[in-house]
Amino acid sequence: MPDAKQTIASRAGRELEDGQIINLGIGLPTLIANYVPEGVDVVIQTENGGIGVGPAPEPGCEDRDRANAGNQPITLVPGGSYFDSATSFAMIRGGHIDATFLGTLQVDEKGNIANWIVPGKMLAGMGGAMDLITGAKIVYIVSEHCSKDGASKLMKQCTFPLTGAEEADVIITERALFRRHPDTGWVLEEVATGFSLDDIAGCTDMAYAVAADVKLDAFGA
């Protein structure tokens, strides 16, 4: 059984297009940087104030003034630069980011996303997620298909407070890839190795159509 997170990050990496400017959320999404396809150059923005994020620094070369939004040390590629938070969110809200990749607690039929609070339990805060979801041209949800208790994260309707309303464009889990179309809603386009169409149906609460040319064994393993 392959690692779910690496499967998701690897499939997400194949979405990247040359020249795109992307923002990667904390945690799983950060792994996508390891799966940028050969010949594809993307520019990574980090909302705490940097663009052109490169590989992690060599051990011993970390710098307290060079970190991402998760406080991991970073380097910049040539051409990268730094800026303040108001400018960073001008970039984000202003539609200058091509794609954002975010984890989630819940995502639903209408494209609603809930990933910042479990009422009465955990409040991390929305951080930059509300702005990223609103401003990025394509919003990718990259997340395990089910929560730890086995419930589908792909729900009929989110029950937690939303981070963004009708903003999710693509969902990539370790089991499947869905794209949302403005008129017809979610379409199952790909199923990962080791899962059948029935498996996906069994662990997905939101309604979706199956693409005529749905790909089985499309990624993973």
């Binding site: 910049l76 040539p78 051409g79 990268g80 730094y82 001008a90 970039m91 202003g94």
Partner: protein, 231 residues
């Protein structure tokens, strides 16, 4: 590695079409994108709407395009430095919409920042509030100014790299920064061109994320030659 945006001026400027709105950087000649304006003079476009602090200085700048009849409307804070503009306006050949300087700068920045608008106290009690929504907040009145999005922006910088990271010099920064933020297609003429990594990442005034095309400025519009330049 970010991509190379240096392209021929004709290719960059081919995005300009009749009827479009253009944000123009500069301030009465300080940092005006004269190379791009010169190229626009050779193009067959008309009915342009210009958003700029002014219309240039004396005989140079956007005023040259007005003289050619290419401009339908100028939204500016000040047209006193180009007497031809007032004449064209009085003769009905040009529409001029006066706008407070700070409001114009903020309209551009807000448009680029994805904000719908902002509340300014500037112009309350004057004709600047005519036709505008007034909002009262904590006992003070504000004009609700919608943000600005343009089709094109043309700007000038003192130094730039091939991805469009820009550094301005002195008071030539001015409207070049907000203009660069608010347009669908942003063309920067740069006086000194560098490869990526040559400019200090802490000292960039306009990130390349806002810039679509980079062209070399005509050498006669350069304030300092490359060999003398210290970013």
């Amino acid at each position: 590695m970010p991509k190379n945006k240096v392209i021929p001026i004709a290719e960059a400027m081919s995005h300009v079409k009749s009827g479009m709105s253009i944000a123009v950087g500069g301030f009465i000649g300080q940092g005006d994108p004269l190379t791009l304006i010169d190229h626009l003079k050779t193009m067959d476009v008309r009915d342009l709407t210009i958003y700029e602090n002014d219309a240039g200085y004396r005989e140079r700048g956007v005023v040259e395009l007005v003289r050619q009849g290419k401009i339908k409307k100028v939204v500016a804070s000040h047209i006193g430095t180009t007497p031809e503009i007032g004449k064209a306006m009085n003769e009905g050949r040009l529409e001029v919409e006066p706008t407070p300087q700070g409001t114009l700068a903020e309209m551009m920045r807000c448009g680029g920042a994805g904000l719908g608008g902002f509340l300014t106290p500037t112009g309350i009690g004057t004709i600047a509030e005519e036709g505008k929504q007034i909002i009262e907040l904590n006992g003070r009145k504000y004009i609700l100014v919608p943000s600005l999005k343009c089709d094109i922006a043309i700007i000038r910088a003192h130094a730039g790299d091939t991805w469009g990271n820009l550094i301005y010099r002195g008071t030539s920064r001015n409207f070049n920064v907000p203009a660069a933020m608010c347009a669908d297609y942003v063309i920067a003429e740069v006086e000194n061109l560098y490869t990526m990594g040559e400019l200090d990442p802490n000292a960039i005034h306009t990130s390349g994320i806002f810039v679509d095309a980079v062209v070399r400025a005509n050498v006669e519009y350069c304030t300092l030659r490359e060999e003398k330049f210290n970013a």
